[in-house]
Subunit: 250 residues, 2 copies
């Protein structure tokens, strides 16, 4: 009897935004694994603190590099691939011994997450189950209280790491958009929004659902202030529909 | 003292995929409102059955029309606008009397949902809070066990109601895509995928996280079988990255 691998979304940060299923699996799990920077608890680790069994075995999967090497370099790719291989091997040891393993994933496990690197290495060899979670972007649009998309709206999710031209082109063609991984990319994102004629529609949200949450229009945000990596830009769709319906209703 | 309006995401269907916060608010609420077809419990209503207070007041907001009138006709727009106005007025009566109201929303309240029609009519007059939820699409990619997007992937969410040309163009430009509102649009979606050269990558998921869940490649699905409205097509991104990393790892 081998153990079962669970990729569990822990949601956007507020522990109450975990699903009932995630909370149950984390409470029951003999082994909980989490990705983190070396020596840090990680966002998902913070979210589930106090929920785990007293005798739980915690596997810390500490990224060997984060921003020290360029993302698209061979050196980065080779270090990070070796890290995922080694992490999968550590988890496979537990599974082979019959112990279930819950891998914590901030937001949703299969939406821009690290869990998928374990999933594709282990899914063929062990039973696996993915438990979806509330994404960080959903917490951001809930905080802003804006309908992100409706009806025939096309919604584009864009990593802020894209080049300025690609961003501007995508933004011009989208009814609604979410730009993730903002951080140091903010000046470039601002230029791309301006080129697409969408700067005035953009909202800036920081730490959605977490302590220190901030929501403001991008226009009113101090352009010189650095933005954290997990801040998000929202370009809500639906505005025309809303106005049309408001008029129809009057 | 007025009551508080809560727009609460109930998740994709499996009651265990509700958040802890949604479950708490539904248990505590004196008034629970839900959208539905006349005489039907509705998906969200089914999800929360058994959770509500014994003395709860349930406000059924039954759509006056669904598919009887064309979506973009004046007749449809005027009927549905009057319905949202009247629904908001019913809820405002409870709020004005000091009763909190939880409005159930399948998936996430602000992601292609009906809740936003109440939100924009009531948010200026009463305290409101939106509780994000797990989307139906996240349950579908969890069921399929495929990473939907990673790294620099651009993810497009496309309503199947779009025209064939628009669909084909969007699909050709997206790394990853989700096509919602499939139903009777499936033959058109299939043609658009073929034109974009993406038919072989497409997965078909029906009733993600619900009883009767089905996952298959679109290619292996009988083209003549009608698809339910809430089925979804997934076009996972990340495949190139996965292959590149697998090769790098070997």
């Amino acid at each position: 009897m081998t153990g079962r691998l669970y990729g569990v979304g822990t949601g956007p940060g507020d522990p109450e935004l975990m699903t009932l299923k995630a909370a149950r699996l984390i409470r029951e799990a003999p082994v909980v694994a989490r990705f983190c920077k070396a020596g840090r608890l990680g966002n998902a680790g913070t979210t589930v603190a106090g929920l785990m069994r007293a005798d739980v075995v915690v596997e810390e999967l500490a990224y060997p590099v984060t921003t020290e090497l360029p993302l698209h370099s061979d050196a980065y790719r080779s270090r990070i691939t070796a890290f995922y291989e080694e992490s999968a091997a550590r988890i496979a040891t537990h599974l082979a011994a019959g112990r279930d393993v819950v891998v914590l994933s901030e937001g949703d496990p299969l939406f821009y997450g690290s869990y998928m690197h374990l999933h594709r290495r282990l899914a063929g060899r062990f039973p696996v189950e993915v438990v979806p979670g509330v994404t960080g972007m959903a917490a951001c649009w809930a905080a802003a209280g804006v309908p992100i998309a409706q009806g025939d709206d096309v919604l584009c999710v864009l990593p802020g790491t894209l080049g300025e031209d690609a961003l501007a082109e995508r933004l011009a063609g989208a009814d609604a958009a979410v730009i993730m991984k903002v951080g140091g990319n903010l000046p470039k994102i601002r230029r791309a929004l301006a080129r697409a004629g969408r700067l005035d529609d953009a909202l800036y949200v920081e730490r959605g659902s977490q302590p220190g949450q901030k929501v403001m229009t991008l226009a009113e945000r101090d352009a010189d202030l650095p933005a954290p990596y997990f801040s998000i830009i929202l370009l809500p769709g639906w505005q025309d529909v809303a106005l049309a319906q408001a008029e129809a209703a009057e």
